[in-house]
Symmetry: C2
Subunit: 176 residues, 2 copies
Amino acid sequence: IPRTITIVPNTYNPPDNFANVAGKIYRSSFPRPENFSFLQRLKLKSIVVLIPEPYPAENQKFLQDNNIQFFQVPISGNKEPFINIPQESITEILKTVLNPENHPLLIHCNRGKHRTGCLVGCIRKLQNWSLTMIFDEYRRFAAPKVRSLDQQFIELYEDMEIIDYALINNWLPVAW
Amino acid sequence: IPRTITIVPNTYNPPDNFANVAGKIYRSSFPRPENFSFLQRLKLKSIVVLIPEPYPAENQKFLQDNNIQFFQVPISGNKEPFINIPQESITEILKTVLNPENHPLLIHCNRGKHRTGCLVGCIRKLQNWSLTMIFDEYRRFAAPKVRSLDQQFIELYEDMEIIDYALINNWLPVAW
């Protein structure tokens, strides 16, 4: 049987620590231009950035060219002894992240380990995961720089406001 | 404004090494009864098992109760010096795994590290990921027991037959 085979020779380079969190919510480290062709395959509608620094010009251009909404909620990672992620920031970010109208959505910080890991941990709490499995996942991405402070933050995050908000908006359970 | 809030107090226990691979393809270690309520949330249509041992009675009951198709393709993990995963087995499994009619689909072996990691690595090759990022992901799940033999298997896996088969069936690119 004669047939035509199309082979796509492009290599796609996901950003470091890229993964699918749930449904069309993704996580990664800071995307660089060499990751853009990969990210285009996700057909992103939104990017949520957790760092305070201004977004690089080439990343801004990528957003514009692909019609991607940009949400920047700057947080500083947990660090002994006095820097803690404010709970309100996480709640604010979750209101954006859980909204299906913003999906497909990518969350990133710099290395996709700590700040992103804390946020994903809070999403897992909303999915009622056991802390054991939340921490296992956190450590998989944060290794070898695992922070107890981050795990404690996830454990103590008091999510009544966001649970309330998400239920009213019919965003729970988080879709797979 | 008076309103009713429903709080779901159940804790869900994903199996160890559970993750979303792409679209509605999932991976994990061997699911135990304490993981079943979590797995039900995924509304699985199929489970692909990579181990040769008979499936436990309680897992078989879970399949029946939830109307889940069962595919068992027994393979032995790569092990020096003479045990190698046969390429044909991976190709056969991929024909099941890539078929959207079988999704949502869970792949598992025992620990969700090596055999499952090899299979997921081959899926990433079909997604044209760079080997660097394929290996990073492999190591994230296999750590601390990373096997070079597994990474070499992924690198050398010659996927023309499955590419051909998948293209004819319109399964590529793998949906996110």
